[in-house]
């Protein structure tokens, strides 16, 4: 068998591919990933579906004509030629045209999970808990070798050199990363003294951040008994974990700033409170003293004899007023009214009847003297509640009685 050089194999491979008419002009539908716009102006990408992926490149001269800015997850239609890139040892598609087809399958899946968890209420604002002012220990879930950890440690040290930290390392990308993050989160939540947890990683491609869109991890963050601050990637990267976290930090550094207080500021606040505490009591004492002094300054304390004097004046004034009222018409008018009312009461003919007297009448005329009557006269005797008819039997005048 002939011994070939690597270049020989590459050339054969190139020839085979070039000879295949179906690869000379292809139109491929797939999802973009690992996109990279090189400073040279060339555009590199991976095209994939559920079963396979292929590398691709679009040179500057062609990429200039692409109307949209392609990014990870975009569903696209690529037109071009498939060829073997000998120097790179890769079969790749040399794109001539790139068209956007709408949301990629992965983004669709993400949207579906998000809608479902949202409907469950996992992202509701009232679920968000406040972060502690001064955490006893800050839990950190990230890769022990990543830039995120370095950033967090640096910021934490600068803000509060005494801040205790607990790191639960976890792989933050690749197969099984989400499950590792979930386990790390649970270990931290169970660790005594951990009052808040930062979970995150540095920036990366959309695929790199995928672990933070994992449904089980999102649920674990929402269910975590300790407040969680998410810090995934850069400002513009948003993952589902960000929605479930109690607070989202744009970067790991920002998370450290949210979570770790500046020690000097707390110390200053305490100092201020102590000052105000002393001043508060002092001012109260001063106020009491001032009130006492003011009270002593008022006349009753300085000239107690005046109290008596003033009382006497009051009595005199009242007496004077009374006398004036008596002289004035008011009192007299009142007395006259009362007298008139009394007389009116006496004029009521039924008044005496109620007291037991009777009214004697003959033929409708009142009889006021015994001499007006003769024996045999028929008279009416009017009483308070009725009347009686009577026959006069005998007349006696006062003179006769006497």
């Amino acid at each position: 068998m002939e011994i070939l050089s690597v270049g020989d194999v590459a050339r054969v491979l190139s020839g085979v591919l070039e000879a295949e008419p179906r690869l000379r002009l292809v139109c491929v539908r797939g999802e973009l990933g690992s996109v990279k716009a090189h400073p040279s102006g060339h555009f590199y990408f991976t095209l994939k579906d559920e079963s396979a992926q292929i590398r691709g490149v679009m040179f500057r001269s062609r990429f200039r004509n692409v109307a949209f800015s392609p990014k990870d997850g975009d569903m696209v239609l690529v037109t071009g030629q498939v060829a073997f890139y000998q120097a790179g040892g890769q079969v790749q598609i040399y794109a001539e045209e790139l068209e956007q087809l709408g949301l990629g399958a992965q983004l669709m899946r993400l949207k579906e999970i998000k809608a479902r968890l949202e409907a469950e209420g996992l992202f509701r604002p009232e679920r968000k808990r406040a972060l502690p002012l001064l955490p006893r220990k800050v839990g950190i879930v990230t890769s022990s070798s990543g830039a995120a950890l370095r950033d967090i440690l640096q910021i934490a040290r600068r803000r509060h050199p005494g801040q205790d930290l607990v790191l639960a390392p976890a792989r933050v990308q690749g197969q099984g990363a989400a499950a590792e993050v979930v386990r790390a989160l649970r270990r931290l939540a169970a660790h005594p003294g951990v009052d808040v947890i930062i979970v995150g990683r540095g920036g990366g491609s959309q695929e790199d951040l995928d672990a933070f869109n994992d449904e089980a991890l999102v649920r674990a963050v929402a269910a975590c008994p300790v407040p969680v601050v998410s810090a995934v990637g850069h400002e513009t990267d948003i993952t589902l974990v960000d929605f479930a976290a109690d607070q989202r930090a744009p970067t790991p550094s920002a998370a450290a700033e949210l979570v770790v207080p500046v020690q000097r500021e707390l110390a200053l606040r305490l100092w201020e409170l102590r000052q105000r505490l002393g001043q508060g009591l002092r001012r109260s004492a001063e106020r009491r003293r001032d009130r006492l002094a003011a009270a002593l300054q008022r006349w009753p304390m300085r000239r107690p004899q005046e109290i008596l004097l003033r009382r006497r004046e009051q009595v005199q004034a009242a007496t004077r007023l009374l006398g004036h009222l008596g002289r004035s018409g008011a009192l007299r008018r009142r007395a006259r009214l009362q007298a008139a009312q009394g007389r009116l009461g006496g004029l009521d003919p039924r008044g005496p009847l109620r007291r037991g007297y009777a009214l004697v009448m003959r033929d409708g005329h009142g009889i006021t003297a015994a001499g007006q009557l003769r024996p045999g006269d028929r008279i009416d005797v009017q009483l308070a509640d009725g009347q009686a008819s009577a026959l006069v039997d005998r007349i006696e005048t006062e003179e006769e009685v006497r």
């Binding site: 502690p132 002012l133 001064l134 220990k137 990230t142 890769s143 022990s144 070798s145 990543g146 830039a147 995120a148 950033d151 440690l153 509060h160 050199p161 005494g162 801040q163 205790d164 930290l165 607990v166 790191l167 639960a168 390392p169 976890a170 792989r171 933050v172 990308q173 690749g174 590792e180 386990r183 790390a184 270990r187 931290l188 660790h191 009052d195 990683r201 540095g202 920036g203 990366g204 790199d208 990637g233 850069h234 970067t251 550094s253 020690q263 110390a267 606040r269 305490l270 409170l273 102590r274 105000r276 505490l277 001043q279 508060g280 009591l281 001012r283 109260s284 004492a285 106020r287 009491r288």
Partner: protein
């Protein structure tokens, strides 16, 4: 007591003393409580030693990862 509970109570006491509605005896009691609270706050703030613990559970550390450290953005 947690730091923020202590600071919260201390702030409430200071505000109450500053408002000055209580009688002398109550104010003295508040003052003493405030002093004790500010002491325990100081203690909590000074007690942290800046330790870093590591909770190992998964086999990690031996897999080098690109975690965006090449990215020039902070």
């Amino acid at each position: 007591m947690k730091f923020e509970e202590a600071v919260g109570r201390l702030e409430a006491i200071v505000q109450r003393l500053e408002a000055g509605g209580d009688d002398l005896e109550a104010q003295l009691r508040l003052f003493e409580e405030g002093v004790a609270l500010s002491r325990s706050c100081e203690e909590i703030l000074g007690a942290a030693e800046g330790r870093i613990e590591e909770l190992l559970g998964d086999a990690t550390g031996d897999v080098p990862e690109d975690l965006g450290s090449e990215d020039p953005r902070p």
